[in-house]
C-alpha cells in the first residue's frame, strides 16, 4: 500500500472540498432564511471568476506575481473586488427576482432562480464566448514543498510512501476557506446582524415584531452568501487558472448537493458536506472510476437522505404549508 498517494489524494480532496464548501455556504444560508433553492448561486460563483478575469486584465496582470508584498496586495484586491461585486449582484438578484415573490407559491421563486441562472450564463456567453478562458495564476501554481511519509511494515503488510506534494495555492485556499467559515460562524452567532438573520430564519413574523428589518436582513444574507461564492470564484481561478461560462452549473450542483448532504440550513453541515463530496469524487478517481464519480456522488446522496432524511447535521423542520 502506498500511504503517499492516499495522503496526496486527501490533500486534493481538501482543496476541492474547500471550494465546494464556500459555495455550499451560500446555498445553505439562503435556504435557511427564505427556504429557497437558489439555483442561480452556482452561476454567481462562475461570474465571480469572470469578474476576477476582468480585474486582472484591466490592471494588466498577466503572470505569476513573485514579489510577496505585491502579491498580498493583489490577492486582497482580487478577493475584495470579487466579493463586493458578487455580493451586490446577489442583493440585486434578491431584490428583483425573489423579493416580489416572497408570498408566491414555493415553486415560483425556484423557477425565477433557474431563469436568473440562464440570464447570468448567457450574459457571460455573449461577453466572453463559450470556451475555456485562461486567468493568470497570480500565485505560482507549482511552488510548494514535498515530503515523504515514513515507510513501515506491520506484520507482512508493507506501507510505502511516494512523494507527497503540497503547493502553496492549495494551502492558501484551504486556510482561506476555513477562515471564512469561522468568521461566518462568529458573525452569525455573535453580532446583532447575525442574530437578526437567525431570528428571521426561525420565524419571520416574530422577528419583524421584535423590530428586525426583514428586507435588510434577507438582503444581507444574500450579500454574504454571494460574496462567499465570489471568493470561491477567485479561489477557483487561483487553483485552475481557467474559467468557463458553464462552470457554475456543475460546481453549483455539487455544492448544492453538499449543502443538502450536510443538512440544508446548517452552515457547519454545508462545510462537512463540501469536503465529503470532494473526498468521494477524489477516491472514486483514485480507484479508476472517475467516469462514474457523478453517479457515485448522487447515489450516496440518495442513500444518506433515505436513511437520514434531513442530511447529516440537519434538524427535523416542520413542512411549511
Amino acid at each position: 500500500m502506498d500511504a503517499g498517494i492516499l495522503t496526496q489524494q486527501l490533500l486534493n480532496g481538501l482543496t476541492i472540498g474547500a471550494m465546494y464548501a464556500l459555495i455550499a455556504l451560500g446555498y445553505t444560508m439562503v435556504y435557511g432564511i427564505i427556504e429557497l433553492i437558489n439555483f442561480a448561486h452556482g452561476d454567481v460563483f462562475m461570474v465571480g471568476s469572470f469578474v476576477t478575469l476582468w480585474l486582472l486584465s484591466t490592471i494588466g496582470v498577466q503572470n505569476t506575481v513573485n514579489d510577496p508584498v505585491a502579491l498580498v496586495g493583489l490577492l486582497i484586491l482580487m478577493f475584495a473586488f470579487s466579493m463586493v461585486v458578487m455580493g451586490l449582484v446577489g442583493v440585486l438578484i434578491e431584490r428583483f427576482a425573489y423579493r416580489p415573490l416572497r408570498r408566491a407559491p414555493r415553486l415560483a421563486p425556484l423557477i425565477t432562480a433557474i431563469g436568473v441562472s440562464f440570464i447570468l450564463q448567457n450574459i457571460i456567453q455573449v461577453l466572453y464566448g463559450t470556451a475555456y478562458f485562461n486567468v493568470p495564476q497570480v500565485i505560482d501554481p507549482l511552488a510548494g514543498f514535498s515530503f515523504k511519509l515514513p515507510s513501515f511494515a506491520i506484520g507482512g503488510f508493507a506501507v510505502t510512501s511516494s512523494l507527497v506534494t503540497v503547493t502553496w495555492v492549495h494551502v492558501f485556499i484551504v486556510v482561506l476557506a476555513v477562515a471564512m467559515m469561522v468568521a461566518l460562524q462568529v458573525f452569525v452567532r455573535r453580532t446583532n446582524l447575525g442574530r437578526a438573520m437567525r431570528s428571521t430564519a426561525i420565524d419571520r413574523e416574530a422577528a419583524q415584531l421584535m423590530g428586525v428589518d426583514i428586507n435588510t436582513t434577507i438582503a444581507l444574507t444574500f450579500f454574504i452568501g454571494s460574496a462567499l461564492a465570489g471568493a470561491a470564484g477567485v479561489a477557483w481561478t487561483l487553483n485552475y487558472g481557467l474559467t468557463k461560462f458553464d462552470n457554475g452549473f456543475q460546481a453549483g450542483l455539487k455544492s448544492f448537493t453538499a449543502a443538502v448532504l450536510g443538512g440544508i440550513g446548517n452552515t457547519t453541515g454545508a462545510a462537512i458536506g463540501g469536503f465529503l463530496i470532494a473526498f468521494i469524487e477524489v477516491f472514486s478517481s483514485q480507484l479508476g472510476y472517475s467516469r462514474w464519480s457523478e453517479a457515485i456522488v448522487f447515489t450516496i446522496l440518495i442513500l444518506v437522505l433515505v436513511f437520514k432524511p434531513t442530511g447529516i447535521l440537519g434538524q427535523q423542520v416542520a413542512e411549511r404549508a
Binding site: 427576482a97 408570498r103 425556484l110 431563469g115 455573449v126 450542483l253 457523478e294 453517479a295 446522496l301
Partner: protein, 397 residues
C-alpha cells in the same frame, strides 16, 4: 384544518364524476387542433418560414414535449411534488423501446405494444425511486430527483456492454402497425404535399407521426382529466395544499404521492418511446438536466394544474425554442439588412437563454399562475394574496 378546507374537501368528495364530458371535449378539441394546425401554416406569415411538411414534422416533435408536460403536470401541478429529474424517465422509456425494437437487441416488438411497455417500465422506475424517497420533505425530494436525473445518463453512458455506451443505439424500427394510406382515398391531387395520404411511417413523411402523437396526446389527456377529477386527483390536490390536513382526513399520503410519481413517470416513458421511434436513435446525451428543466418551465409557463394550459405552454415554448428565434433572425435580416438600429447585427440565437431566462423571471413576477391558469389554482393564489394583505395590515396596525 380549517372549516373551509373541510367543507371544500367534502364538496370534492361529493363532486360529480364528469369524466365522460371531459373525454368528449378533449377528443373534439384535439381533433380540431390537429386538423387546423397544418393549414394555419399555409397562411402568411408562417408560409414564409417553411413548407407544410417541415411544420408538421416540427409539430410531431412538439408532441413529445406536450406529452412530457402533461405528465409532469400530474407530479408538480396536481400533487405538488417537485421533480427535477423528469428526463430520467424519458430516457428509460426511450431505451426500453431501443431494447424492444432494434437490430441491436434483435427484438422487434410492435411500436404500439412498446408504448405500453415503455410506460410500464418507466412507472416501475418511478416506484423504485419514489418508494424510499417520497417521505422526504419537498426540497429534499427535489434534490433526490435531480440526482436521479444525473445518475441515469451516466449509467447509460458507461454501461457499454448493455447500452452501447456513448454511441447510443441506432436504427430503431419505426412504427408500422397502422398503414394510414389504406382506408383513405388518395387526395394528393386536391391537397398538394399532404404526405399523409401517400404512405406509412418513415423519414421525410411526418404525417403518420403527427396523427399518432395527436392520438396519443388525446388518450393521455383524457386519462389525465379523469384522474384529476377522480378521488385520487382530489387527494393529490389535498396533499398539495396541506399534507398534514390531508393525512388527517384519512388520505394515505405515501401511496397517493407514489401514484402521482409513477403516473407522471409513465407518461414520460411513453414520450420516450415515441421520440426514439421517430428519431430512430437513442443516445445518453439527449436526456440531460436541460430537458428536465425545460419541461418544468413549460408546465409553469403554461399554468400549473391546467391540463390544456400546460399542453399549450409546451407547444408554444417548443415552437419558440426550435423555430421562433431562428425565424426572428430571418425577419430582422430581411427588414434590416444592415443590422438593427443601435444594436447592429444581432444573432438572436446567441441570446436564446437570456430571452428564456427573462421570460421565466418576467412570467413569475407578473403572472405566477402561468399563461393559462387553472381556475382552482388561481383562486388559491388570490386567496393567499388576500390573506397576506390582511396579515400585513395587522402587523402594521
Amino acid at each position: 384544518m380549517t372549516a373551509a378546507a373541510r367543507a371544500s374537501w367534502a364538496r370534492f368528495r361529493g363532486g360529480h364524476f364528469f369524466g365522460r364530458h371531459q373525454s368528449f371535449s378533449v377528443v373534439v378539441g384535439m381533433a380540431i387542433v390537429t386538423a387546423i394546425l397544418p393549414f394555419i401554416v399555409l397562411a402568411p406569415p408562417f408560409s414564409g418560414f417553411g413548407t407544410q411538411t417541415d411544420f408538421v414534422d416540427g409539430f410531431s416533435q412538439a408532441g413529445v414535449w406536450v406529452l412530457l408536460a402533461i405528465g409532469l403536470n400530474v407530479v408538480v401541478g396536481l400533487a405538488g411534488l417537485l421533480d427535477l429529474g423528469y428526463a430520467a424517465f424519458f430516457a428509460i422509456g426511450a431505451y426500453t423501446y431501443a431494447y424492444g425494437a432494434s437490430p441491436y437487441s434483435g427484438n422487434h416488438v410492435a411500436f404500439w405494444v412498446m408504448l405500453l411497455v415503455g410506460a410500464a417500465v418507466a412507472a416501475m422506475a418511478g416506484l423504485l425511486l419514489g418508494a424510499p424517497t417520497l417521505r422526504l420533505r419537498g426540497d429534499y425530494l427535489a434534490i433526490v430527483t435531480l440526482g436521479f436525473g444525473e445518475i441515469v445518463p451516466v449509467v447509460f453512458t458507461n454501461s457499454d456492454q448493455y447500452t452501447n455506451g456513448t454511441n447510443g443505439i441506432t436504427a430503431l424500427y419505426q412504427p408500422s402497425l397502422i398503414n394510414l394510406s389504406l382506408p383513405i382515398p388518395n387526395l394528393s391531387g386536391i391537397l398538394p404535399n399532404l404526405g399523409l395520404f401517400q404512405g406509412s411511417y418513415g423519414f421525410g413523411n411526418p404525417w403518420p407521426y403527427y396523427i399518432s402523437v395527436a392520438a396519443i396526446i388525446s388518450v393521455v389527456m383524457i386519462l389525465a382529466y379523469r384522474l384529476q377529477d377522480s378521488r385520487l386527483g382530489r387527494a393529490w390536490m389535498a396533499i398539495r395544499e396541506d399534507e398534514l390536513a390531508a393525512a388527517s382526513m384519512g388520505i394515505n399520503t405515501v401511496t397517493t404521492k407514489l401514484l402521482a410519481f409513477a403516473i407522471g413517470a409513465s407518461t414520460s416513458g411513453l414520450a420516450g418511446v415515441y421520440l426514439s421511434s421517430k428519431l430512430s436513435i437513442v443516445s445518453p446525451t439527449q436526456f440531460g438536466f436541460t430537458v428536465s428543466f425545460t419541461v418544468l418551465a413549460m408546465v409553469v409557463l403554461g399554468g400549473m394544474g391546467n391540463i390544456w394550459g400546460v399542453a399549450a405552454g409546451a407547444f408554444v415554448v417548443y415552437e419558440i425554442q426550435s423555430q421562433g428565434l431562428k425565424q426572428l433572425n430571418v425577419f430582422v435580416g430581411q427588414y434590416f439588412p444592415n443590422g438593427l438600429p443601435i444594436f447592429g447585427h444581432v444573432d438572436f440565437l446567441t441570446y436564446q437563454y437570456l430571452l428564456y431566462g427573462l421570460a421565466l423571471v418576467g412570467m413569475m413576477l407578473l403572472r405566477p399562475e402561468g399563461l393559462f391558469p387553472s381556475r382552482r389554482r388561481r383562486q388559491e393564489l388570490h386567496d393567499v394574496e388576500d390573506a397576506d394583505a390582511a396579515n400585513v395590515e395587522l402587523v402594521e396596525a
